[in-house]
């Protein structure tokens, strides 16, 4: 019985590490393909954006959240529902701008960087920049979805 249980947790762990390891392989490959960190950052953002516009549908289908009435609610859903669902973490929301149109998400334990060591010659690399693109793509898409629903 316990062997079965061990197998289950082992599977889950491997499954989670698969994404982290694949992401690492991708960043490594991009650093080889592009000559400077800035281009890698842009590429990660672009790829993240493409993922985000598709991920939002998966999120809406699986999470059952209703419409957000303001940006603060949006921030909450991102941190407490989306990040929890996809990365198993809940970043903290801080740094609200006075106008309430800008905030920061702080990831204490970023699963993307498990087992990762950046060499010294990549000081401008934003390793997790894919996440920025994903957020950007998902949020742009949801605005469009809202407009479509309204019409």
């Amino acid at each position: 019985m316990s062997r079965q249980a061990n197998r289950g947790t082992e599977s889950k762990k491997m499954s989670s590490e698969l994404f982290t390891l694949t992401y690492g392989a991708l960043v490594t490959q991009l650093c080889r393909d592009y000559e400077n960190d800035e281009d890698v950052n842009k590429q990660l953002d672009k790829m993240g954006y493409n993922i985000g516009v598709r991920l939002i549908e998966d999120f809406l289908a699986r999470s059952n959240v209703g419409r957000c009435h303001d940006f603060r609610e949006t921030a909450d859903v991102i941190a407490k529902v989306a990040f929890k669902m996809y990365l198993g973490i809940t970043p903290s929301i801080t740094n609200w701008s006075p106008a309430g149109d800008e905030f920061s998400l702080i990831l204490e334990n970023n699963p993307l960087v498990d087992f990762v060591e950046l060499p010294d010659n990549h000081s401008s690399l934003i390793y997790s920049n894919l996440l920025c693109g994903v957020l950007r793509g998902a949020l742009e898409m949801i605005r469009k979805l809202r407009y479509t629903a309204n019409a």
Partner: protein, 172 residues
Amino acid sequence: MADAALFEFLHTEMVAELWAQDPDPGPGVSAGPRGEGGRAAGQKMSLSVLEGMGFRVGQALGERLPRETLAFREELDVLKFLCKDVWAAVFQKQMDSLRTNHQGTYVLQDHSFPLLIRMASGLQYLEEVPKFLAFTCGLLRGTLSTLGIKSLVTASVAALPACKFQVVIQRS
């Protein structure tokens, strides 16, 4: 714990991205040096890049396995482990069948390969399929490598989403 869907999304984007980097006009368009020969070279490069990435990930995954799983009695046990435990961990299902000629060739069959399911079923997009299999072939080859087995892994599709992986053990 990263959700399983994330790997699928990332994989799809990687295939799109690594393919797009070869700005090829398509077959039959140019008769110059970038004609048929150019396309073949571009294709090979992208496939091998994807396969190489899969290999590194497979190696790393293999290294993270607990000690007792690494003590296999024979080669067939390793392949069974690949079909059950590794496949379940990576794709949330087991391989549907494993066959061998007992002379170092194994055919692993998945009737419903998750990375192909979203694409189509049947014969549509058959030409596009190799790009979606390259990473996984590398992953199998990489995990086998960590488990002490050198191999060549290829994949073929007769009709989506069913897929066959052929593992040929390389004896040095």
